[in-house]
Amino acid sequence: MDIELSADDLKFREEVREFLDSHAHKPGDDYAKWRLDWFQAAREKGGWDVPKWPQKFGGPGWSPTQHYIWEQETARANLPWDLPFGVGMVAPIIMSYGNEEQQERFLPDIRARTVNWCQGYSEPGAGSDLASLKTKAELSDDGKHYVVNGSKIWTTMAHIADWIFCLTRTDASGKKQEGITFLLFPMKQDGIEVKPIITLGGSHTVNTVHFTDVKVPVENRIGEEGKGWTYAKGLLAHERTGLAGVSRSLVALEKLKHQATTVKRGNGTLLEDPSFRSKLARLEVDLQALEFTELRSLARAASGQQPGPESSILKLKGTEIQQRIAHLTMEAAGPHMAPWGGVEAGPKFARGGTQSYLGSRAYTIYGGASEVQKDIIAKNVLGIRTQGGSN
């Protein structure tokens, strides 16, 4: 057992720090220009703009340890905004299951961050039970295009997206996991209606999307008809590192500790308040453990082994910890958690804290609710066989 970083890893960490420092956004920089320049500069470092892409497609080919160092260092930095749907989600599917023509057509714009994507998975009747989705795609008589009808829900950023990757039903006769087809199509066209859903934080990020006779050329189908479920599941397996958000949580916890020193409590500060202090400490204990759960998982991946049972708990524990940090931050604001909409009242960190907490409630719902994750662990990791349930 050895937890020391190698000399090469330490050198890499220095290089990352230097890059992040020298490309940080400076006051006065035009944001949009800085953003694209940043990705360009990262690209010139040898694929740092797409850390998780395989080398074949321009990725940096980092070791798991290097990925971990990148997560740690970038958690502290102010990176340009980047939606996960393009580079992180649809691109790996196009790389694994798309044909060469599709790869040439879609990947460059995705990598340049010039085209925004959204994900058409959940439906009003298909949430945790995603495979029961009903959005219908019918092949035209001449076999040249699909006609898509149906509705998606919780579609993040659909209102600014240029393209959608969408799970559709092409066959309803067999098992529900069969007959699902993976289609790509532009969002700005007749027959697509996007309606906002306002979430508890008061913001508009998710939408419902309705399709009425939307024509999608067959060239936009990824892989084979009816195999979409396999491809989508492949994506879920793609993301391994960073799943638990350990680095970001460590940074958030540090910030919270500092904030707690600015809140007066009796004759001391909130950080000295025994019950607050013990909740913070408990969070830190859990994070220390989770950091090593992630490292165990990484070490295994580094030696080319299949992910071990420990990796299955990363999302569950990670999101739970993120929610607890958000809650404690709101609690630290005391009576000032109530003023709404950026109102100046009480400590500065109180502004937006309640909104973050409300937003954090969705962490254990989207991308596979925690209940479903537990079902999957029970089945795949503990090897429990049942008659009912979701698996």
Partner: protein, 374 residues
């Protein structure tokens, strides 16, 4: 031992429940919250006509002589509708101070206006550094001729922007944390030097930051004796804790029942969600927490009715349990509603937000557990 309401109390509960069912569907509430005052003036008038504004005042004052049980009955029903009208700031807190301090003609005049629905009040007591310590006050008032000059900043003052009169606490002697030396003043927000900056809160209510710079008030605006306001402040805070717990209880019941219903309707994996045992057990846990809260709200109300401030420890127990159970029930309800739980579309989310804010008023779960254990 008897947990039944009297006939009068039952009538009161029924009438508030009817009002809530009638006037507080989610859409109606949303419109009110977005309006200029954040509540309906005509509904406040209806409160006056129905006698709800008279509840805690004695019959000599034109009230109905209700106590903690009546306050609990009203607030629990308000909690079931997320009622926006400022009953807590005006009747319980403001009215609570006035009925404990005013004398003579002014008592008759102001309590009369309050009961008739022509007076809005706000209790401007909390300060930024105080968090929930009621005795931590740095705002000050010094005697000046036959009046007083007040300086200070009061934070998250509910109903502050709509109040015709503010009740401001200030230190007339003693150190920052002393219980002695606190005084209460009636301040017209239109007085020179008073600045009221109103804003909405997370739960759709209204609050304000109130700053007072060399604000001059008359000697007759001092409520009670100078330096001796502590027992009054403690008493209205006790009233408020109980009122908030009762309000929370009403909301918790709705959240539990909505979740029981939703999980029976929502189909996933070819079953209603409530078929899954993990869901059933969590529904039962929510229900158990709710029943425990109900018991402690009853206990606190009855002990407070009997023993007044001596029941403070039970009030703290109650606020603690409401805080922890509220978090558990709220978060579990949202989780079991899935995506729908985190939208503005279902009433659940609005109830959840009110629970969070109740936890931030007059001391959170930790604060009251500490008081309980002390």
């Amino acid at each position: 031992m008897n947990f039944d309401l009297t006939e009068e109390q039952q009538l009161l509960e029924d009438s508030v429940a009817r009002f809530v069912a009638d006037k507080y569907p989610l859409e109606a509430r949303r419109k009110l919250a977005e309006g200029e005052r954040g509540y309906a003036e005509e509904q406040w008038q209806a409160f006056a006509e129905l006698g709800w504004l008279a509840v805690p005042f004695s019959e000599e004052d034109g009230g109905i002589g209700g106590g903690p049980v009546e306050a609990m009955v009203v607030m629990e029903q308000f909690g079931r509708g997320l009622v926006l009208e400022p009953y807590l700031p005006t009747v319980i807190l403001g009215g609570g101070v006035l009925r404990r301090t005013l004398t003579g003609e002014r008592r008759g005049e102001l309590l009369g206006r309050l009961i008739e629905g022509r007076l809005q009040l706000a209790f401007a007591h909390g300060e930024e550094q105080a968090r929930w310590d009621l005795n931590d006050v740095v705002s000050s008032a010094r005697e000046d001729g036959d009046g007083w000059v007040i300086n200070g900043h009061k934070t998250v003052v509910y109903n502050g922007g709509n109040a015709d009169l503010l009740i401001v606490s200030a230190r007339t002697s003693g150190g920052q944390m002393d219980t002695d030396g606190l005084s209460l003043f009636l301040v017209d927000p239109k007085t020179d030097g008073v600045k009221v900056r109103g804003y909405p809160t997370v739960d759709g209510l209204r609050a304000a930051e109130v700053t007072l710079k060399d604000v001059r008030v008359d000697g007759s605006d001092l409520l009670g004796a100078a330096g001796e306001a502590w027992p009054v402040i403690e008493a209205v805070a006790d009233d408020a804790v109980l009122a908030l717990c009762a309000e929370a209880l009403g909301g918790l019941d709705i959240m539990v029942k909505d979740t029981v219903q939703y999980t029976q309707e929502r189909q996933q994996f070819g079953h209603p969600m409530s078929d899954f045992q993990t869901v059933q057990h969590r529904l039962v846990e929510m229900f158990m927490e709710y029943e425990q809260c109900k018991s402690l709200v009853y206990r606190a109300t009855m002990e407070y009715a009997q023993n007044g401030h001596e029941a403070a420890r039970t009030l703290s127990a109650c606020k603690h349990l409401i805080g922890t159970a509220g978090k558990f029930i709220g978060e579990t309800a949202v989780q079991l509603h899935g995506g729908m739980g985190v939208t503005e579309e279902l009433r659940l989310g609005h109830f959840f937000k009110r629970q969070l804010v109740i936890e931030s008023q007059f001391g959170n779960a930790d604060f009251h557990l500490e008081k309980f254990a002390a």
